[in-house]
Symmetry: C2
Subunit: 265 residues, 2 copies
């Protein structure tokens, strides 16, 4: 019995999120169909995170137990041939049996893309939020720093989340512009349901002239969902990087991961 | 009677090229439908270039004669509301009656995107050529310089082109890498049918170890289509910049264009 860890990327706007659901096409179901075609049996898979309808992933991991002896590189090629073009398998490696794609996660980084121009981009349909008035990215960056540290994020969580513990730690955050594209990045220990999208919606209060420095701190302290901004569109959201606990991936593979991806805190 | 010049961008993979055709959806037909909805009559439009099925444009111009008094900014907004998301109107301005969107062109720049990685990108379906083996972009850049200057490009033209004069001048060319994305840019006086895609196919002979410095010069001199490479996929091709003759756009508007876009040779 081997435990295989797959690294993938996907464009999420044709899927009803990652997790398998009844009566809706999801990323997990599409992966399981491809795995069944390649491995000749339907294997259970465990993903690193649940992403919502329309959310994308530049890096996503899932694990799978298998009796198959198929070499890792051959599995990558065969799965890519069996998958649609909007999902790509980037890597496959064997991991220790105690590794868990979800529970071994130490931190995750999300990226949120905003197309900040009067006119839409024909190339970013479903891939970015369109904001028509020019954002002050320097103000947004200063406000975003107020998310840093350990806070109770209960005011940044949609109903439907079933979390008892709503305290999370944010390690890094930034807002930066490249031409008409504004990107928000946030690295944290974990994220509540819709938390990143509500963080973005709160920063975008600035677009209405309703955000100044100190406001994020005040809204966090209020622990009140109504004080925060709207839940921003899923179109701009990307799971960007997943960082595993030291040692979780096992010896040699982990070193390669760290040097290849810079995946250590 | 006013002559209006529209600047647009479009994602071409859902269209059978720019030019109106029977029994196929094209960019021009989609524009004319939107213009009819906004201007309340079907106006003829003249585009700056013909792009093939699947080819994109980061910058494209068309002109139109109209009796309508609609202000330029209002026309931009109304057309964007009437158009699908994969076509965007970026600007509209009044131009002298002697201006012609196609005949007043001084030079055009094309961009060709190659995703140069073993595995496809889920975000570049229809938007880039996928090349699996690592390209030597420095070699490609040196070979691309051999296109510079005035040459008879008859060997870089597909049958179906009805050109008598196959001499064109290339002003600038480059191949550069950003991560796994390799971009070929070429600025020239004009381009024959499929010329840029055959230039790319020729540079990609390098992928098979079949291109060394001096080969482009030799292939150009042969004037033989069979010596050049295949016609590369339309997916990677973008009309990137259109430069009009000095004075063609009229006084004030032209200065704005030049400073905004750097559109002067």
């Amino acid at each position: 019995m081997r435990k295989l860890l797959f690294e993938i990327a996907y464009r999420g706007d044709r899927y009803h999120g990652y997790q398998v659901q009844k009566n809706a096409r999801t990323v997990a179901e599409t992966l399981q169909d491809a795995i069944e075609a390649v491995f000749k049996r339907r294997e259970g898979i465990v993903g690193c995170s649940r992403t919502d309808t329309g959310v994308h992933a530049n890096q996503y991991f899932f694990h799978m137990l298998t009796e198959s002896a198929i070499p890792e590189r051959a599995a990558v090629t065969a799965l890519n041939n069996a998958l649609p073009d909007d999902i790509a398998v980037l890597d496959c490696r064997e991991v220790p049996l105690e590794f868990h794609a979800r529970y071994s996660v130490a931190a995750k980084e999300y990226l949120y893309k905003i197309w900040d121009a009067p006119v839409r981009s024909p190339f970013l349909e479903g891939l970015a939020l369109h904001n028509r008035r020019r954002l002050d990215e320097a103000l947004l960056d200063r406000c975003a720093q107020e998310f840093l540290g350990t806070h109770d994020f209960i005011g940044f969580c949609s109903a439907g989340g079933k979390m008892h513990d709503t305290v999370r730690t944010i390690y890094q955050t930034s807002v930066a512009r490249t031409g008409d594209l504004v990107e928000f990045r946030v690295l944290g220990s974990g994220f509540l349901y819709n938390m990143v999208r509500i963080m973005v919606g709160t920063l975008l209060l600035a677009d209405l002239g309703r955000l100044k420095e100190g406001d994020v701190t005040r809204i966090l302290a209020s622990r009140d969902r109504k004080q925060a901004g709207v839940t921003a569109s899923p179109a701009g959201l990307y799971l960007n990087r997943v960082i595993y606990q030291n040692g979780a991936l096992g010896g040699r593979s982990e070193k390669e991961t760290e040097s290849d991806k810079g995946n250590s805190l």
